[in-house]
Chain length 235, copies 2
DNA sequence: AAGTGGTCTAGACCACTGC
DNA sequence: CAGTGGTCTAGACCACTTT
């Protein structure tokens, strides 16, 4: 219970949205009702609702009330293909090695990044994707375990966790941040690259019906990987 | 003047960051000092600093203090959006310096990249885009000179070549390649960054009715720039 | 008029950091 | 130890919307 009160209030609201008791468009309890029901001060209720509103879960209207926000819709011209596909498309042999697979509970910072309840279980996977035996991507991924608990025991020799998730969980949105940076010693070693060389980092959050499905940090040796795409210019 | 107090406090802090009186890494006044100096309650000062921290302008450390965060401009990979806009959208002062402007003829390798006849004339422009005086992007651009010959003599103090091109030449398509790499000494110097730090490189070809309009190599300091956007991914 | 969100205050307790 | 950010409260005033 070592969590801020406003965080508890946020989870309370998110729980009701997730389990369907508050549907999209529904009016949810007012700040004063939350004050009464949860025995918190109004400032605490206010902060919870304000943050959820900024995060896109709620819509607030002055004088009217607070409502469950419609889900975000996606329209994105740019397509990022699976790394395994990409490698095979170039005629190279795809392989990968699993570095780590563990259950993770009570990891509050990650759970908060994923806007998941504090008791949610995560599966943490780290693996390296290779083309003709040469490392191309280090994938460090957290998955909401209720979406695919069998990931914990799945044999990855035939299908990668990425491809498995793609098939199993219908996604409707992804959020990407792309950066250039320098590798840690561990990352450089895993990617078999010098520490003095740049890495291209993709931070990705994927959303399913029920919220954030997984977050991944993808590290690529700068000399062996590039993102490319042709798309419309707006002007 | 009908603005929330916490917003005034935020602007107060941003003003000091923008005018340089509080530099990156500097410790800024504590909540209690702001309470004294601006005659606001601590909750108000707290909300201002908390929001600025979430927005990426400040870093807060429990028990130590609040510090000016390193800059990081973010661009959208889906659109050909001008860096000047991005910087202004963040509320920072845009400026740029022209490093080179020359006519270029018989440069076969570039002409080939642009699929242009061997006798075509090109305009070669190199400039640095800055946010509050800090370099964010080195732009190295070749333009098919028949599309905008006046670029050679245009005064760039009011409009950047990028913005000018966006207005003048209707673009149909753009092709992007994103890479991470290490800067040359020249590039590092122009961007005022260490040579040991990574750069994010965007290689862009833009197409007009009549074919390739221009190609550009855009170099960004990895620590100050990121690409972000929501688009379709694989999982 | 009653209910809602938006803001603000003064004071409080805590955990963490530095000296 | 004093200073910092992190949180929480009880009560207040306001502007807006619905009845």
């Amino acid at each position: 219970m070592n969590q801020p009160l406003y965080e508890t209030v946020k989870q309370h609201v998110l729980d009701h949205i997730r389990d369907g008791s508050w549907q999209v468009g529904d009016k949810i309890p007012s700040e004063n009702e939350l004050v009464r029901d949860l025995s918190v001060s109004r400032m605490t209720a206010n902060r919870a609702l304000r943050e959820l509103s900024k995060e896109g879960f709620l819509l607030r209207e002055h004088g009217r009330g607070t409502f469950v926000a419609p889900r975000r819709v996606s329209g994105h011209p740019l397509e990022v293909r699976s790394i395994a596909e990409e490698i095979r498309a170039r005629g190279e042999k795809y392989s990968m090695s699993l570095l780590l697979r563990e259950d993770k509970e009570g990891c509050l910072d990650i759970l908060q990044e994923m806007s998941l309840p504090n008791k949610s279980k995560l599966i943490h996977i780290t693996l390296v994707h290779k083309a003709d035996g040469v490392p191309m991507q280090l994938e460090d991924r957290y998955v909401h375990s209720t979406l695919a608990p069998e990931l914990m025991h799945l044999d990855f020799s035939n299908i990668s966790p990425t491809d498995y998730l793609l098939n199993k969980v219908p996604l409707h949105q992804a959020e990407h941040i792309v950066r250039a940076g320098m590798p840690t010693a561990t990352i450089a070693a895993a990617l078999e690259m010098p520490e003095s060389e740049a890495v291209l980092i993709i931070y990705r959050r994927t959303f399913s019906d029920s919220g954030v499905a997984s977050i991944a940090k993808l590290y690529h040796p700068g000399s062996r990987f590039e993102l490319s795409g042709a798309f419309q210019g707006e002007g």
